[in-house]
Amino acid sequence: MANKPKVGIFSLTACEGCQFVLLDLGERFFNFLRKTELIDFPLIEDAPFPKKIQIDIAFVEGTPITKKNVSLLKKIRKESKIVVAIGNCAALGGINKIKNYQDKEKTVRYLYKKTGAIENPEIKGLDKFVNVDLIIPGCPINGEEFLAIAEELIQGKIPQIEQKPVCRECPHRGKESCFLRKQEPCLGTITLGGCQAVCPASDFPCYGCRGTLKNINPTGFLATLKKMKPGREFEESLEVFGIKDDLQKYL
């Protein structure tokens, strides 16, 4: 037992879909857990988060919205050697971040008139609060990719996801059925692949939930897409999964 890497799986504010991706792996996920010493995973066990313990690898899903979310995140960082952000909410703020592009005081009043007790901060990814060692992106994450990365992590490596676009895995690549050829905006060209192009493969364009590729200059590409849809509409599409901030300077 002593030699098994200590692992924790945590959630802040989220739909918890990324945790369910793990459970949906079934037996394979439980086999992975057996190679670790599971310190905390509230979704499948009752023991409370230990007061003080060194964690080797902490996986964190969700967005810090409440002060308690933020303090839990900081505690996790303090207690863990490696912190891995899992999913679009943890990486970029997720759909919750659409609020940042609106008048957030007005948005919060839409439903609740007594807003005194509501915590309504600007939505940000985990790396704006603590140092994050690795991001496993996507909304939700891809289970196969998680397993492959997690296996390396428990062997003491920090793997990097290859910087290749979604198009590389897309069944429409180079065909008439490609969204771009049909003059429909699709962000696959500038979005980090590894999802098996699950959306375009289902005839739904990529909205960039895995975040933008590093070291690219998408100015020309974005200008082309803008011609397909009027300006405001196009920018709104970049807001859905919180990638607009990263692309703002190229717009």
Binding site: S11, L12, T13, A14, C15, E16, G17, C18, Q19, F20, V21, L23, D24, G26, E27, F30, R34, L38, P42, L43, I44, E45, D46, A47, P48, T63, P64, I65, T66, K68, G94, I95, N96, I98, K99, Q102, T107, V108, R109, Y110, L111, Y112, K113, K114, T115, A117, I118, E119, N120, C139, P140, V198, C199, A201, S202, D203, F204, Y207, E236, V240
Partner: protein, 422 residues
């Protein structure tokens, strides 16, 4: 005065805590379930957005039941645009909805609630103790997740469902393969039924009204024109507009009452209200259970066994639906969408109960109003009332035992705090 505090109730969807003050006499002075999640403001952020973004964003309210959120959003907008979807669309949506209920119930029964009936605190140990049942639970989940992937393109946050129908239709061969694996899954469901039939359910009953959709012809799940609450039938619109009140005074959760009273949706409500329409195998299990229960069907702990019955029922339903699909030519994924000003209210049965989604759009197809009433928002009051009645009977137990019993009752409800706190 004794304070009972459970800071974080594990093994539920989302995060919540429990807080109560109990007098020496056993009288409960105050009791609360509080959410530990932040408010994502899903309805608020949708105002002004384009209609087709509604299912994408609202579907992400919940990672365990995204299908029903997506589907309700699509249906509400289709009503606003006066679109009638195709028969194929309805059949496929029904398979997705049935699969969602199956996989959510199975996860809840085996991985969340079962341990409450033993001394096990961790699912890895649970799998060790119930190897055959664990295998059955995983096989059922694999089947329903596969169905979701074949039709929806992905297990969680499926991508093919849209206003008017689907972006893409499933492959006929994949549906056939699914049908071929059905008999083994049916056997796995029987394993689960046997496990949950023989659990030692606490005897508990507090009178409440059960809410579900109502149909004269089938066990309702996909869309409904009427609801049944207690012994009263009424139209969806009447119930939503006139009979329920949303308490918005305690954000970040809305709590809903029916004419001032708590009420209960979910598997227990669907079974109590509609058991006549269960599919044959599920019905047989139900009737045997009814005989043994002495006619008291309303013990909330039976919600677990009713979920097991529903797994069987919806598996039988899935088999029939796929057979119907295979008789037809899978063509025309979606109806054409013509944007117009309008509003729509849609209700479907989510795993945890009836989900209401209201959407209003302007002439440009942008959202003007949106309201989503989740099952958990509807049963939180009922859960708190149940706990108030349950607590005095267990106050003499040691603290640890008390906490265990409180958690067990909360988990019987299968609360989804992500849905309640959106």
């Amino acid at each position: 005065m004794e304070r009972i505090i459970i800071p974080h109730i594990h093994k539920i969807e989302g995060q919540a805590g429990f807080w109560a003050e109990v007098a020496r006499t056993g009288e409960v002075k105050d009791l609360k379930i509080n959410t530990l999640l932040g408010l994502r403001q899903i309805e608020g952020i949708l105002i002004g957005r384009r209609f087709w973004e509604v299912p994408i964003v609202a579907g992400r309210i919940c990672g365990i039941c995204p299908v029903v959120h997506i589907l309700n959003c699509c249906s509400a907008i289709e009503k606003a645009f006066e679109i009638e979807v195709s028969e194929i669309t309805v059949l496929l949506r029904k398979v997705l909805l049935a699969s969602q209920i199956i996989q959510s119930h199975t996860l809840h029964l085996f991985f969340m609630s079962l341990a409450d009936f033993s001394r096990i605190e961790n699912d890895l140990d649970l799998i060790k103790k119930f190897p055959q049942e664990a295998k059955a639970a995983l096989a059922i989940r694999d089947f329903s997740l596969k169905a979701t992937k074949i039709i929806g393109g992905r297990e969680i946050h499926p991508v093919t469902m849209k206003v008017g129908g689907f972006t893409k239709l499933p492959d006929e061969e994949d549906l056939k393969a699914l049908l071929n694996s059905y008999p083994q899954v049916f056997d796995s469901a029987s394993v689960l039924i046997n496990l949950f039939k023989n659990l030692d359910y606490p005897v508990f009953g507090r009178k409440t009204d059960f809410l579900s959709l109502f149909s004269k012809t089938e066990y309702p799940f996909y869309q409904g024109g009427q609801v049944l609450i207690g012994d009263k039938k009424m139209s969806l619109g009447d119930f939503y507009s006139n009979k329920i009140e949303e308490d918005l005074k305690t954000p970040p959760v809305k709590k809903v009452r029916y004419q001032g009273q708590p009420y209960m949706p979910g598997a227990i409500a669907r079974i109590v209200n509609n058991h006549f329409f269960l599919n044959p195998a599920a019905k047989k299990v139900f009737l045997d259970f009814k005989k043994g229960s002495g006619g008291n069907l309303a013990n909330v702990f039976y919600n677990l066994f009713y979920q097991a019955i529903e797994i069987l029922h919806f598996l039988e339903e899935t088999e029939e639906l796929i057979k119907e699909l295979l008789k037809r030519e899978l063509a025309e994924p979606a109806k054409e969408v013509k944007i117009s000003q309008g509003s729509g209210l849609s209700a479907s049965e989510a795993p945890r109960g009836t989900l209401f989604t209201y959407v209003e759009v302007d002439k440009n197809g942008r959202v003007v109003k949106c309201n989503i009433i989740t099952p958990t928002a509807q049963f939180l009051n009922n859960l708190e009332e149940d706990l108030k009645v349950y607590l005095p009977g267990i106050t003499r137990l040691p603290h640890k035992e008390k906490v265990k019993k409180i958690r067990a009752l909360i988990r019987v409800y299968d609360p989804c705090i992500s849905c309640a706190t959106h």
